[in-house]
């Protein structure tokens, strides 16, 4: 599982030279297939089917997890939708942590991104309910709550991603330092 020291890249240098280990902009895009697989149509098709199945299964679990949180924290009409808010913020925190760990520490864990990021976190967090709930607050003349909900989710989501990225990079550095001291 552990990557060799040469493969570990941190921060902006990793992006500039385009090496593997760089954080993507759109994490749902990459399939994680090797170049050889992508060039072989038959193996590429098989790989695509497996990836779709993994994303589908993780998506089912993510949707159920979101449904469970929504049942635990029901939102009465006209109130701040806390369940969707916390679902989206916790999902944003975890995506930051996971993508840094995958890009900078475990680049060989190919299945982890479709499973955890595209499948589970993508399905667990939701944009459509966020938009519809905000619109329903506006329609019910709860304008202030609607505006606060729309903007606080956006800002807290970005802050959560940033916190996740910073935390994961800190843990990776700490791990390196400990490894150097121990070996």
């Amino acid at each position: 599982m552990a990557a060799e020291a040469g493969e570990v890249t941190l921060g902006k240098e990793a992006l500039d030279d385009g090496r593997r280990g760089a954080l993507p902009i759109d994490p749902d895009r990459d399939t994680g297939e090797s170049v050889e697989i992508r060039r072989d149509p038959r193996r590429h098709r098989t790989a695509q089917r497996s990836i779709l199945l993994v994303i589908g299964c993780a998506g089912a679990v993510g949707a159920l997890a979101r449904y469970a949180v929504a049942l635990l924290l029901p939102t009465p009409a006209g109130h701040f939708p806390w369940s969707t808010f916390w679902i989206n913020i916790t999902g944003s925190l975890v995506i930051g942590v996971v993508l840094v760990l995958l890009a900078e520490r475990f680049p060989r864990a190919r299945i982890a991104r479709p499973l955890v990021v595209t499948g589970f976190l993508g399905a667990y967090t939701t944009f459509s309910t966020y938009m519809v709930d905000a619109d329903l607050l506006f329609r019910g003349h709860d304008i202030t709550t609607g505006v606060i909900y729309a903007l606080s989710s956006l800002i807290a989501g970005a802050a959560a991603v940033f916190a996740g990225i910073v935390f994961a990079r800190f843990v990776i550095r700490l791990d390196h330092r400990l490894n150097e001291q121990l070996s």
Partner: protein, 125 residues
Amino acid sequence: MGVLVVLVVAVGGFVGAPTRFLVDRFVADRAEADFPLGTFLINISGAFLLGLLTGLDIAGHMPQLVKDLVGVGFCGAYTTFSTWSFETVRLLEEGEVLEALFNAFGSLAVGLVAAGGGIALGLVH
């Protein structure tokens, strides 16, 4: 919660998440820019669809099971908040401030209009 609801939400998620993956790649393969257009179009279209469902539901034309399957399951899994937030932060980190702001506030504005349009359309029918 009933067994049927669990099954229906799971099926919706099982279809919704891979649909996002396929649509995202379809769009990304055709738009060479760094801007995450795929996620943007996914979230807007999903917000419209859920808005439509919600409008129909308010008008009383929506069985609970369809709401759970298409609304909670499919739309919830098809659209994504975590990827959207992540893309905004990554664009900021890259110094693409305008793209980041457009991704954040553009998605929000267009998403609200799309969902609102969907609700209005559903209410008419």
